[in-house]
Amino acid sequence: MIGYLFLLIILAGAAGFFINRRAARARMAAGERLHSMAAFHGAYAVCLSALPALVFTLLFLLFEGPIVDAILTASLPADAVADMDPGQLSLVEAEIKSIARGNVFGEPEPWKRDAAAYYAALRHNATLALWVAVIAILGVGLALARRRVSARFRARHRVERVIGWIMLACSGTAVLITAGIIASLLYESIRFFEKVPIGEFLFGLNWEPQIPIREGQIAGSGAFGWVPVFVGTLVITSVALFVAIPIGILSAIYLNEFAAPRLRAVAKPLLEILAGVPTVVYGFFAILVVAPAIRTAGATLGIDVAPNTALAAGSVMGVMLIPFISSFTDDALSAVPQTLREGSLALGATRGETMRKVLFPAAIPGIVGGILLAVSRAIGETMIVVMAAGLIATLTINPLDSVTTVTVQIVTLLIGDTAFDNPKTLAAFALGLMLFIVTLGLNLVALGVVRKYRELYD
C-alpha cells in the first residue's frame, strides 16, 4: 500500500514538472521574457507538490504508530486492565495487534476481540486519512504551482532556497547522528562510572573484568583499570608505525621522484591493493605466517616469545597502514610545485639533496597529517588484533609479550550472555569513549599541524 503511495507521489511530482515546464516554454515561445528558465518552473512544481507530500507521509508514518497505540490503550475496558503493570499491558496490546492481523491463538477473551476489531478499524482509517491527505496536498500543490507560472515569477529563487534547505537537512543529519553516537557513549559510560569510580578506571593498573553474574559467585570482584589495555594498544600501534612509516614514506619518495615511469605505473597500483585487503585476511596472515615465523626466530635465538605477540599483530597492522602513509606522502610530494624542484636543481643540487632539503620538508605537513590519521586507524583497528593479539591484559611494553588492546577488550566484553546493567558490559562503553576521545584528540592535532605548517609554507 505504502509503496503505491510513494509511486503516486513520484508520478505527481514528475507530472507537475513537465506540466509547469511546458507552460513556461509556451510563454517563452509566445515571446515573453521569463525571469526563470522553464526547468525552474518545473522544479518549483515538484517543490510544491511531491516534496511536501513526501515530508507529510514520512512524518505521518513516524507518529502513526504511537498515536494509534495511545488511542488503543485509552479504549481498553478499565476493569480489565486496571491492575496491570506496564509490562503486562504491552504484552496484552501485542496480543491484540496479532489478533487484528489474524493470528488468533487459543480463545481470547471477548473484550480482546473487540479491541482487536477497533484497532484494525483505527489502522484502516489512518491509512485512508493518509491517502486522502496526500492526494489533497498533491492536488493543491500542483494547482498552485501551475497558476504561478508567469514571466515575473522568480521560480529559480524559490527552488534554490528549497535546495538550500535540503542540503542543510542532509548536513544536519550527519551532525545529529554524530551527536547521538557521542550521547549514547556518554550515557552508558556515566552509568559505568556510577559502578566503578572514574579514578580507578583511568589510573588502575589491573584489568580483570570478571564480575559475578549470580549473587554469591566466587569470581570475586573485577578490576577495571584501563592502563594495561591502553598500553597494549600503544605497543601494537607503535610496532605498526615502526613498520609503516619508513616503508610507506620511502616507497612513496622512490615512486614519486626516482622510479622510472613504467615502474611507477606498475608498482603504485600494487601498493594500493594493500589498502583493499580485508582486515580479516590480514588477521589470517598474522596468525598463520607472521606469528609462527616470529616464534621460530625466537626459538632459534633462544628468546622467550609469547604465542600471541604484539610484534606479530603490530607488524601486520603496519603492512595494512603502508598504503595509507605512502599515498599521503605521494600526494604531499606531488603537491610541491615543480618550480621549487627546478629551483633547487638549478642551484646544482642533486636529486637526493633536492628531495631531502626542499621537497620532503615542504611535504611534511601532509605527511604528518597522514601519519596521525594512520595512528587513529591503528588505535581503532579491531579485526587484526582480535585474531592475532592476546586477551590477557599484561602491563608491559615488550613487543614479544602478549598484550591486549582496547578494541579487543570491547569485543570480548560484549560477546556472549551479557546483561546491559553489568559493569562488565558497561566497561565496553567506557573503553569506547576513551578510544573516541583519543582518536578525536589525534585528529585535532593532525589538523592543527597541517594548518600551522601551511601558514609557513604557502
Binding site: P261, P337, T339, L340, R341, E342, G343, S344, L345, A346, L347, G348, A349, T350, E353, K357, V358, P361, A362, L456, Y457, D458
Partner: protein, 269 residues
Amino acid sequence: MTMLQPDEAETETEAPTAELKMTARDVDVFYGTNHAIKSISVDIPDKTVTAFIGPSGCGKTTFLRCLNRMNDTIRNCRVTGEIRLDGEDIYGRDIDPVQLRARVGMVFQKPNPFPKSIYDNVAYGPRIHGLAGTRAELDEIVERALTRAALWQEVRDRLDAPGTGLSGGQQQRLCIARAIATAPEVLLMDEPCSALDLIATAQIEELIDELRESYSVVIVTHSMQQAARVSQKTAFFHLGVLVEYGETSRMFTNPSDQRTQDYITGRFG
C-alpha cells in the same frame, strides 16, 4: 663535433674565448617529435648582458635551459649539437650536470623561493657545495649575496622570516641572491620581471646592470624596451631559429633582417 684542424682549433680558442664565456654550435632541441630549436649557434661573451628576445613560443626558454642542462630533467627532451663553457663541452661525458649548474646559475620566470627562511634560501647553494667552512663565512656569503641583490637593507632584521613572505619583487631579488651566492660564472634569467610591477622591474634591471661586472648574464625577455635597456648583445629568435644576433644598439636601430624589423616595430609578437 667541429671538423677543425688542431692548429686551427687552437687559434679559435685562443683569441676569442678570452672574452667568450659560452659558445653554442648547431644546437637542435626536440620535445618528442616537436622540433623546438633549429640549429642555433650563438656566442655568449663574458661580463656582458646578452638578451634573447622573440615572440612567445619561439624557443627562448628552451634554448636558455640548454645552457645549464635543465632540459635533462624533462623526460622527452633531446638536445643535439655542441655547447661549450670556457671551451669545455658541457654535454661531454665527463661533465656532471650537477656541477655545471653550480657554475651556470638560473633565475626563473616566476619567483620560486624555497619555503625556508630568507637566510636558508641564500645559504642553500653554499651549503650543498661546501663553499663555507664556518658559520661566520656562511654569514658573510649570505650578506654579500643579499647586498649584491639589493635586498640586504630590507631583510637584514628578519633573516629568519620565511622567504615566501616577501613581496613579489623581493622574492625575485631573493632568488637572484640565492643564485649568486653559489658563485656562478654565468647567470641565466628567464623573463625575471614578467611577474613583477614597474618599480620592482626597475630595481631588477638596475641589478642586472651591476651583475654584469662579475658575471656573464643571459636574460630572456619578451620586452624589447627591457632588452634595449639592460643588454649589450641581443639575439632575436623566431619559430625556433636564431634570426639575428648582434650588438643591441645596432639591432634596435638598424636590423638587418625583415623579421627583426617587424618584431621591434611591433608588427607581430
